[in-house]
Symmetry: D2
Subunit: 345 residues, 4 copies
Amino acid sequence: MSHWFKSDNTSPAAPEVLAALTEANSGYARGYGDDAWTARAEQRFSEVFERDVRVFLVGTGTSANALALATLVPPYGSVFCHEQAHIVRDECGAPEFMTGGARLQLLPGEGAKLTPAALLRGIADNPTAVHTVQPRAVSISQATELGTVYRPAELQALSETAHAHGLLVHMDGARFANAVASLGCTPAAASAASGVDVLSFGATKNGALAAEAVVFFDPARAADFEFRRKRAGHLFSKMRYVAAQWLAYLDDGLWLRLAARANANARRIGEAAGTLRLQPVEANEIFVRPGAAGIAVLRGQGFEFYDWGADGSGEARFVVSWDQTAEDVDALCAALRALPDTAST
Amino acid sequence: MSHWFKSDNTSPAAPEVLAALTEANSGYARGYGDDAWTARAEQRFSEVFERDVRVFLVGTGTSANALALATLVPPYGSVFCHEQAHIVRDECGAPEFMTGGARLQLLPGEGAKLTPAALLRGIADNPTAVHTVQPRAVSISQATELGTVYRPAELQALSETAHAHGLLVHMDGARFANAVASLGCTPAAASAASGVDVLSFGATKNGALAAEAVVFFDPARAADFEFRRKRAGHLFSKMRYVAAQWLAYLDDGLWLRLAARANANARRIGEAAGTLRLQPVEANEIFVRPGAAGIAVLRGQGFEFYDWGADGSGEARFVVSWDQTAEDVDALCAALRALPDTAST
Amino acid sequence: MSHWFKSDNTSPAAPEVLAALTEANSGYARGYGDDAWTARAEQRFSEVFERDVRVFLVGTGTSANALALATLVPPYGSVFCHEQAHIVRDECGAPEFMTGGARLQLLPGEGAKLTPAALLRGIADNPTAVHTVQPRAVSISQATELGTVYRPAELQALSETAHAHGLLVHMDGARFANAVASLGCTPAAASAASGVDVLSFGATKNGALAAEAVVFFDPARAADFEFRRKRAGHLFSKMRYVAAQWLAYLDDGLWLRLAARANANARRIGEAAGTLRLQPVEANEIFVRPGAAGIAVLRGQGFEFYDWGADGSGEARFVVSWDQTAEDVDALCAALRALPDTAST
Amino acid sequence: MSHWFKSDNTSPAAPEVLAALTEANSGYARGYGDDAWTARAEQRFSEVFERDVRVFLVGTGTSANALALATLVPPYGSVFCHEQAHIVRDECGAPEFMTGGARLQLLPGEGAKLTPAALLRGIADNPTAVHTVQPRAVSISQATELGTVYRPAELQALSETAHAHGLLVHMDGARFANAVASLGCTPAAASAASGVDVLSFGATKNGALAAEAVVFFDPARAADFEFRRKRAGHLFSKMRYVAAQWLAYLDDGLWLRLAARANANARRIGEAAGTLRLQPVEANEIFVRPGAAGIAVLRGQGFEFYDWGADGSGEARFVVSWDQTAEDVDALCAALRALPDTAST
């Protein structure tokens, strides 16, 4: 019997979200977002972030990230980001495609986080001229690809450095809910109030079927997003179904409750992992190094998960879903505790 | 009170489709199409078209069309298509974007249909050299943007002409169900068996929430589609929800029943339109020319529809949905009959 | 023995141009346009056009046109142009490539010229929405691809129409010298003073080796041209050789003298063509319809020229170079006079 | 008085090259490469490389590199290259532009050289899936951006590793002459015979005005290059002037004589640099670290050169041209000898 920790996208949608979608399936509605659900959803985002935002709903995180970057960065531009970022490693070049060939400039950083120092190093290492790509943005992930979370003060420092050098700040928030739940701060503090200019806000991994949003904290920056979205095939005709998911997701704090539950289970697993653990567990992901043998043991016990890092690294990633059962979590905790300590390998 | 004839995308999803989606919302499943629903759906397409096909599920018709063309046509290529085609007039340049800048070469034709003669004229008018774009495909719509339908023999003739000149044939089947229901032939006869190479097969307008498919009748042609889909942000992580829609849609002929119902209602309206009618009603769309005054009258009566053609044309498009009520249809028939005959204007 | 009328690009460079290039081949100079020749050339353009212009030198007309359009038009934009325009028929999709997939929207017009009426028709036929490409520019050729020339008043009327609809005006001036010489007006009157925003100014066809320039009449519009030029590989390291050609070309009216000579010879040929002639001869090109038989006769007599129009049109194009010999011109006049009158075919 | 060591592109063209260009400036010739000079030049490349090659002439190194890569790599592909490569740091994203958004994947390496180990590391660090870009090529520079040169055995080992992993090998040969002269081997041994698939062969920096070539050692790989070249505006109409430069450049070993002279002068300067020297001097470039103070001293003495590396690195690059005078070389040797030893800083 399988225990699913491969990704939070292997989980189903939350009942509240499916119910909202079902309820929206009644009567006629104008297409392409000119409907009541979308209007209400847009309003909700402004409430959640405590400011007037301009928001665009899409169906995948990759489209949210790449379209957001295409709006911020010209074809001859570049984006500083962490070398482990999802936009680098998991989107098959979508940012390059949507921007018309802009470049991702990779920076190192502990826990998949960028620091002002790393950014300044990147800027210094890449003096600009007509012969070079032109840096225009920084993209960070919240929570990061290694399950860590930026504190508001870290965001603030990074954003100030970015803005001082003419760079806009994009946040990949595929797991934004997990980050906010982990920080215990307001959504604004984890993004806009800390200097983020544009947020890719994901719901899919945390209880939706397929619902992502690009949130422009300065509506003026959104100028041509709608054309880019349409042109890339990401303007849904029956938009109400995406909007309805968002309405349920944001309603009465559902998104934060689901994320907090996943985070708590992840913390439990992280503690069980002991010295195998590679990163602090601040969201719903646990990174461990069981070695090749340990990985084989875990697979043999029915755990579904991804190998991580370079070929042969002996590392693995476990992701906890919003609805992960206590049985699954218990089983993984026990299995990790039973592994020999190979962290020193 | 409104009568909705603006587009078939204003209608909700069919109960069977929503039920399937709800049923799929249980337990875990691997992401990105590596799940049981997607596997079954893929199998169903091969059955429906009576041959081994390679199929890719996406969420919008624009992405289906543009990604299909990007797979067939290089950046320096071109696509012959009707000057009224959806890919020309309603996708904000998605084909150009996805192909890396290939060109649509526009051809005229009655009822938004291409003929072998028009295609040959287009080929002759555009002699090729290193200085020109290189024609590589023809794209047609089935049903067309003017609500007409290609007969299998027409498709066959057009495909033969295309193939003889080294052009592949793409079919935009956003309303493929309406076309097949109208023809009373097999799905294969309306596409692959008549020479079509790649089909954008839509379900969204005819009872799904958001479900489209790109069907390659020669699997070898699909070689790099999966990378293009991912890169464009169109690979859903929770693919089961798209696949489940398709399973219900194709099950037990639901798709053809829904389409046949819409077609029958459209024919009724077409008859009521009398001399206002501009095109034969062969699918679920009715094109009329009530003039500016007639348009105002209809809008005043609560009918939702699009103006059509150039600014000031006095033309209008009505689209009948799968679940359009008899009341809506009766009301529109009556309203059209009550309009003065302005067809000669 | 051959008589060369295939294109003005079959001719060599003028002695003055080659001398300037030779003279520039001495000593060291900073690369990429940061040299004295380029600085002087840039200055000369402002003098020639009687205003402060921003100019960028490139090596081909295709790069000049496509880079200019890429600066004016976003990827989701479009450009209205004549259906016979060089950017449509002879640049292998360079405008689509450089813009990131913008569209050329084709308009008809006598003598390959656009009129305000045709432009207004094009605008009316293409109502915009988020679903459509967004018209942003008009591109015209001066002289046109059919050897005709826009009068300043025609330009003015067209530019006013364009600007009133938010469209910028690009002029493909591959044969701008021939147009100005033909009009007998100032270069400004044939372009900037008549509302043109950006000019692709060619020298190659009229006595240079490879020298083209993109002239922005409003320097503010040139903002990112330099990055696009570099990125497309069109920033020459040894720019002095392009600049030196321009200095000689513009010096003491050489460009207009060479063009006037070619124009005069073309007019002679046009008169000789009699009823075979298809277009008024206003620059250095002559279009005739000798029919297939006549074409074969002319080829047999050693004339080099292009067939024109669709396959089998029986039409031909003759282009007169700046240095065309009297013998060549006399021979062509005689040959055309000797052909039977097939214009009525 | 200035001493020019900024780049070899600050030097003029060799007299033999200019003479050939002047000689070509006579009579008419068909455009776009359909001329006798181009035919002869193409033939010469096959002789030089001792095999049937397919060659395309262009005007800049950036276009040669980017168009070559665009022919080898799809939009969703990637290219492994050194992190200091010209295609990374000096082409404003041209490879991304020409390929339609492929990615450069950066690898470290001593002396700006890639090793099989570094390549294998890069491959292992970037496991592929539908979610990732697809590596398709390796690009190396010969001579490298740090003035070092790959031995044939090094090339062979790297090419074998590349080919074993399905990667084609592109060589940026902007200074290929300097590399071949330095190695004392055949041109083939420094490229095709050692596994290189496509070479960007530069002449501009070593005595031409503007002449580069893309050489496909397997003509079948060149399939669509001609369309890409045209579409990017890099097909010269008066191609004879580029071809004539190549004919003189390759005639009687001129290219190797000029390069050998520059190399010898560079070696002299490298010896004078002593411990300031950062890299072995194997071609015509010298990299030193005089520190900020030393750099200021050298600038004050009239030396023109580029700062190198990150802002504030205290490093500098000197490039020796084919015609650099003994006075220039002597002056630089003396100035470097007079600097305090700051290499340990």
